[in-house]
C-alpha cells in the first residue's frame, strides 16, 4: 500500500507502467508541468520515442501515422492544448484511429491565471464533441485504475479516450517561489 505522500508523487509512474503494459512506443507532447515526471520517464525509456511538438495538433497526426505503421502512441497535453486540436481530431473519427490522451487540467481548482479559465471550463465538452470518451481523475489513488481502463479501451476498440487529470490532483501552479 502506498502512503498518501507516495501516491501523490508516484501517480505518473502508474501511467507510465500502463504505457509499458499496452506497448506504447511513441509519446507526443507539448510539455506541461503536470506531466514533467511522466515525460521524463518516457524520455529515459529506449523503447519509447518521445516527440516534442510545436503545437498539440501535431500529436494527432503523429498518432495516426504511428497506427498506420503498427505502433501505439499516447498524447500528453494541458487542457489548453485540447483547443488547438479540434479540427485534427476529426482524423481519428474519419479513419478509426485509436487515441489515448492524458490531459492535465488548468483553469479549475485554485487557478491563479484567469486566462486559463475559458479553455479549462470547456475542455471536457470539447473532447466529447470531438468524439472522445472522457474520464476524470480527482485523486492519486484513482489514476492506476482509470488510466489502465482507458488504455485498454482505446486499443481494444480503436476508440478516442481522454483521461482528464484534475488540477486538484496535479496541484495548482505556484506563481511565486
Amino acid at each position: 500500500m502506498h502512503t498518501p505522500t507516495e501516491l501523490a508523487t508516484s501517480w505518473p509512474d502508474a501511467i507510465y507502467a500502463h504505457f509499458r503494459r499496452v506497448g506504447i512506443r511513441q509519446v507526443a507532447y507539448v510539455p506541461d508541468a503536470g506531466h514533467s515526471r511522466l515525460i521524463a520517464l518516457c524520455q529515459k525509456d529506449p523503447q519509447i520515442t518521445d516527440v516534442v511538438l510545436t503545437t498539440e495538433e501535431e500529436g494527432v497526426g503523429l498518432v495516426a501515422g504511428a497506427a498506420l505503421g503498427g505502433q501505439r502512441a499516447a498524447l500528453l497535453m494541458q487542457s489548453s492544448g485540447v483547443g488547438n486540436c479540434v479540427n485534427m481530431f476529426s482524423l481519428l473519427r474519419n479513419c478509426g484511429f485509436p487515441c489515448i490522451a492524458l490531459v492535465t487540467m488548468r483553469g479549475e481548482f485554485g487557478e491563479f491565471n484567469p486566462w486559463q479559465l475559458p479553455m479549462g471550463a470547456i475542455t471536457e465538452d470539447v473532447l466529447r464533441l470531438c468524439g472522445f470518451l472522457t474520464y476524470r481523475v480527482e485523486s492519486a489513488d484513482e489514476v492506476d485504475e482509470i488510466v489502465g481502463a482507458g488504455c485498454d479501451m482505446a486499443f481494444n476498440g480503436n476508440l478516442a479516450i481522454a483521461v482528464l487529470l484534475s488540477q486538484r490532483l496535479i496541484g495548482p501552479k505556484q506563481w511565486t517561489r
Binding site: 511538438l53 494527432v60 495516426a64 501515422g65 504511428a66 497506427a67 474519419n94 478509426g96
Partner: protein, 188 residues
C-alpha cells in the same frame, strides 16, 4: 514551373515499397492520377497534418521509405511540423511540397509562397539535412532517387504551374483507406 501531373507521375515511377502520404486536395488527386495504390494514404481533411502523419509512420517503420506530399497551403498550416521533424531526424522521411502558390480547393487564392515564403530555407533552418527547390521536369528523376535514398530528413519544394487540372478522385472512406494501407504494409 512543373506540370503537376507529369511531376508526380515521375516521382512515383518504380515506387517499389514506398509509403506515400498525399495531402488533401490537389496533392491527393495527383497521386491518385499517377495510379491508385494501397500504400497511398489519401487525405481528404486534416489540413496541416500531412507531414506529421508521415513522421509517425516513418518512426514506426524505420525499415521503410516514407514520402509526404502536401500542397503549399497544407505545409504552411503545419509549418511547425518541420521543426518537430527536425528534432527527430528520421532517416527515412522525405517531404515533397507541391507548391503552386495557391489555395486550390477554395478558389485559387494566393498563398504565402506566392509572396516569396521559402519552404526549403525554412526546412534547413529546422535542421533538415537537405532541402532544395526545383522548377524543371528534368530535375524530377533526381528527386525520385532521393525518395529511395537516405541520409536524414529531406524537403523538396516543387514549384508547380497553377493550372486547373481535372480532379481524379480516389477512395474517400477513411476507414477503408486506413485498412487497405495497413493490410498492404503488413503483407509479406
Amino acid at each position: 514551373m512543373l506540370d503537376r501531373r507529369e511531376f508526380v507521375q515521375q516521382l512515383l515511377l518504380d515506387r517499389g515499397d514506398l509509403l506515400v502520404v498525399p495531402g488533401l486536395g490537389s496533392a491527393t488527386y495527383d497521386v491518385a492520377a499517377a495510379g491508385d495504390h494501397p500504400l497511398n494514404f489519401y487525405l481528404w481533411g486534416a489540413m496541416g497534418g500531412t507531414a506529421m502523419i508521415a513522421l509517425g509512420l516513418a518512426l514506426a517503420r524505420p525499415d521503410r521509405r516514407v514520402v509526404a506530399i502536401p500542397g503549399d497551403g497544407d505545409m504552411l498550416m503545419g509549418l511547425g511540423s518541420l521543426a518537430t521533424i527536425g528534432v527527430k531526424q528520421p532517416n527515412n522521411l522525405v517531404v515533397v511540397v507541391l507548391d503552386n502558390g495557391r489555395y486550390g480547393e477554395t478558389g485559387m487564392q494566393a498563398s504565402h509562397t506566392d509572396a516569396g515564403v521559402d519552404f526549403a530555407a525554412t526546412a534547413l533552418a529546422c535542421r533538415f539535412r537537405q532541402a532544395l527547390t526545383i522548377t524543371r521536369i528534368e530535375e524530377a528523376d533526381a528527386v525520385r532517387k532521393l525518395l529511395h535514398g537516405g541520409g536524414g530528413p529531406t524537403l523538396v519544394n516543387a514549384k508547380i504551374k497553377p493550372d486547373d487540372v481535372p480532379r481524379v478522385l480516389p477512395l474517400r472512406d477513411g476507414h477503408a483507406i486506413k485498412e487497405r494501407f495497413i493490410a498492404a504494409l503488413n503483407a509479406a
